[in-house]
């Protein structure tokens, strides 16, 4: 009995050992097989999900801290295909609420669910209001048509909303040319949105998020995009945009541009132009900017400035010692420079003039003579020092350098010296002109125009500093020119004058070049001025393109300058000369 029992135990032991050995071998075989690796990979794939952590795009503020560009929640609407009950209802609802294409939505929602097809995107950038309407519709259907299961009942079952942030512009079209916009894909176009796209958008990071809560790890700290504080003041900008609209209407101009800059710091307080786009509807870009219409004339559009350029010519000649304010000139009505005869704007002869008279009557002949007295080399050196023909470096995308032909260039002729002296044959942008004139308003120091006041990065505010671009003229010359242009406005009783305030400025009327020569019936009317002259707080540039009521800058652009200054002195708290004197006496 004992020997039989022992044999049985031995046999059972051997069998169990063999079984255990077999199981171990099989386990090892499965673990080490090539399929096991693939299976493990697949398992890992389903054990979590890759997610892109995109930081919120940095905000943009005006100089007073008002939000100009922020972010709002929008939703991607999709369906879980396995839960769809009625694709037709979903298509109808999305067509009615978010204006989605019925056929496309129906086709997507009708897709048979499979291992590959689980989810379908139906609409993007659905607003909070639209989401609420869809939610409400869904609830109403549940109430009206009862429980799930009935295959024919109207139902929005399966619909899900995935929230995300999208750029929004609370001020709509205000300063749209400065800001630019961000498209659906989050890319910045034009203005500061394009110029600072990398800084504003920050850096996305892709992270693996395991479903297993035991494997949860700390999310990487994705730094938010940097925010910007701009130099513009939204109230001044809004006022300038209103004036742009009214000036266009009153003068019948194709477009208008007004810029306001602080000559001491280079801060651009306003840069209003037309047309403008409601940035929340950026997809209407083609509709608003037809043909080659530039998005931001302030930096992108060049034009021949005409007589406002005489300010620079006279400044250069006086600084270079070629003329003095009292230098006399006999205007015979024409002058020949490089074989080309130059005439005055009215083709008349103005007789004996001093330099004040030349500027006051805006005499082309006199200024051409002044340029010849200075000489081509010095004249063009001064113009380059004023920044004509080169980028200002202002922080807005799409800046155009303009064009200043120089002696030695293939297309430069001696006659260009004469025409350039009164602003023809030279192309500038509004921001270039403003920067050049800032030298006259700021004791000879030319300041780089500044649009970004501060950058907020990682919770810290980094302020930018005003930068001097150069000193093209001496403070003495700047003062002489300012006095000359102040007197000039007073003597001619210019419509640019503002009661109680002393300002300096110059009108400009430039014929427009075409492939067939200059047009005499279409002009660019401009005005550039600054004030109060004893302590300039603003430089103003006005440009009306092709005005129809009158071609003259003195008629259409000078009154716009007055309107601008009338608003600026209120908004910038600038007391009139009399009150300022009283305040100074009282101190």
């Amino acid at each position: 009995m004992n020997s039989i029992g022992s044999w049985r135990y031995t046999t059972l032991g051997i069998l169990l050992t063999a079984l255990a050995f077999f199981i171990i071998v099989q386990m090892l075989r499965i673990q080490l097989s090539p399929q096991a690796e693939a299976l493990r990979d697949k398992g890992e794939l389903y054990s979590g999900t890759w997610r892109t952590l995109t930081p919120a795009r940095g905000q943009i503020y005006d100089r007073r801290g008002n939000l100009l560009a922020g972010n709002r929640t929008v939703y991607e609407v999709g369906v879980v295909l396995g839960e769809v009950e009625n694709p037709s209802t979903i298509a109808l609802a999305l067509n009615a609420v978010v204006d989605a294409d019925y056929d496309q939505v129906f086709a997507a929602a009708s897709t048979e669910p499979s291992g590959e097809a689980v989810y379908a995107t139906l609409a993007r950038f659905v607003t909070e209001d639209q989401k609420q309407r869809l939610d409400q519709l869904s609830d109403e259907m549940e109430l009206a048509y009862g429980e799930r299961g009935d295959s024919n009942r109207p139902s929005l079952a399966g619909l899900i909303f995935d929230p995300r942030l999208q750029r929004s512009y609370p001020e709509k079209d205000l300063a749209s040319n400065i800001l630019g916009f961000v498209n659906w894909e989050g890319e910045g176009f034009f203005g500061v949105e394009e110029k600072f796209d990398n800084e504003l958008s920050g850096f996305s990071e892709r992270v693996w998020i395991p479903f297993d809560p035991n494997r949860v790890e700390e999310f990487p700290d994705v730094p938010e995009g940097s925010s910007l504080i701009l130099t513009i003041d939204r109230v001044i900008q809004a006022e300038m945009e209103k004036i742009v609209e009214s000036a266009m209407e009153e003068s019948g101009s194709e477009s208008a541009t007004i810029m306001v800059m602080d000559p001491e710091t280079g801060d651009i307080l306003a840069a209003a132009t037309s047309p403008r786009l409601d940035l929340n509807e950026f997809w209407r870009y083609d509709e608003v900017f037809e043909g080659s219409t530039p998005f931001n004339r302030v930096v992108s559009e060049t034009y021949e400035p005409g007589s406002i350029f005489k300010v620079l010519t006279m400044a250069a000649a006086m600084d270079g010692g070629a003329v003095k304010p009292k230098t006399s000139f006999l205007d015979t009505g024409s002058i020949e420079v490089g074989g080309t005869t130059i005439r005055n704007w009215n083709s008349g002869a103005w007789g004996p003039q001093d330099m004040l008279g030349c500027m006051q009557h805006s005499l082309n002949v006199c200024l051409a003579w002044v340029a010849t007295q200075l000489g081509a080399n010095q004249f063009y050196q001064y113009m380059q020092d004023f920044g004509v023909g080169r980028l200002t470096g202002v922080d807005m995308a799409g800046e155009n350098p303009g064009r200043l032909k120089l002696p030695g260039d293939e297309d430069w002729y001696e006659a260009d010296l004469g025409t350039n002296s009164f602003g023809q044959g030279v192309a500038v942008t509004p921001v270039q002109m403003l920067m050049a004139v800032s030298a006259l308003a700021n004791e000879g120091q030319m300041i780089f125009p500044r649009i970004v006041l501060s950058i907020i990065d990682d919770g810290k505010q980094y302020n930018t500093s005003p930068r001097i671009s150069g000193e093209p003229i001496t403070p003495k010359t700047a003062q002489k020119l300012t006095d000359m242009l102040t007197t000039s406005l007073v003597v001619e009783s210019s419509s640019a004058l503002i009661e109680g305030y002393t300002v300096a400025g110059k009108t400009g009327t430039a014929e427009i070049p075409t492939p067939f020569g200059y047009t005499s019936n279409q002009t660019n009317a401009s005005f550039v001025g600054w004030g109060p002259v004893d302590d300039p707080r603003f430089v103003v540039f006005v440009w009306l393109e092709k005005p129809t009521t009158s071609p003259w800058g003195s008629v259409v652009a000078a009154p716009v300058f007055r309107q601008v200054v009338e608003r600026l002195v209120v908004l910038m708290n600038i007391p009139n000369d009399e009150m300022k004197a009283q305040l100074l006496e009282g101190q």
Binding site: L67, R72, L165, P170, N214, L453, Q461, M579
Partner: protein
């Protein structure tokens, strides 16, 4: 020889006692293993629960951040220049011209240079630890701190 055998037999335990001891030891080991397994299960369940809470909190953080951005935009829409102008007109305010303004000198008043939305780079607050070291240091760290740096306890007490 016979005497030795007698003594050994006299002091030997009964076979059933030995079996009982072995069973007792086995049961003790089993209970210990069960206890360790129970503790392990409990701790891992708590860890899973905490992990799940962390996942939920991350989702909440993201939603809160999105809501903050959204609300800032909503406030900006409500206080936009156009809205504020319309509201001021409804309230009966009118535009002023330069003649309507009277300026007064206030001695000592200096207009602020620039708006500050965030702190300047020069100012940085010291980091305040959010998790007490007791939750992060190991037993050996804690012991070595107490042995080699006993004054640290006093320093902590005077911290605000």
């Amino acid at each position: 020889m016979y005497r030795v055998q007698n003594i050994t037999q006299a002091y030997s335990q009964a076979p059933w006692r030995k079996q009982l001891q072995w069973i007792g030891l086995f049961m003790l080991a089993l209970i210990l293993i069960a206890m360790v397994a129970g503790i392990y299960l409990s701790v891992s369940a708590q860890a899973s629960s905490a992990g799940r809470e962390i996942q939920i909190m991350y989702a909440e953080m993201e939603e809160i951040r999105r809501n903050i951005e959204d609300m800032e935009s909503q406030i900006a829409f409500m206080t936009s220049n156009t809205s504020m102008e319309a509201r001021s007109q409804e309230l009966g305010f009118t535009r002023v011209s330069s003649e309507d303004i009277f300026y007064v000198v206030i001695p000592g008043y200096r207009k602020p240079d620039q708006i500050e939305i965030a702190g300047s780079p020069g100012v940085s607050l010291p980091e305040i630890p959010t998790v007490s070291p007791e939750y992060t240091q190991s037993l050996t760290d804690w012991l070595s701190e107490r042995i080699f740096n006993p004054a640290s306890l006093l320093v902590k007490e005077v911290e605000p």
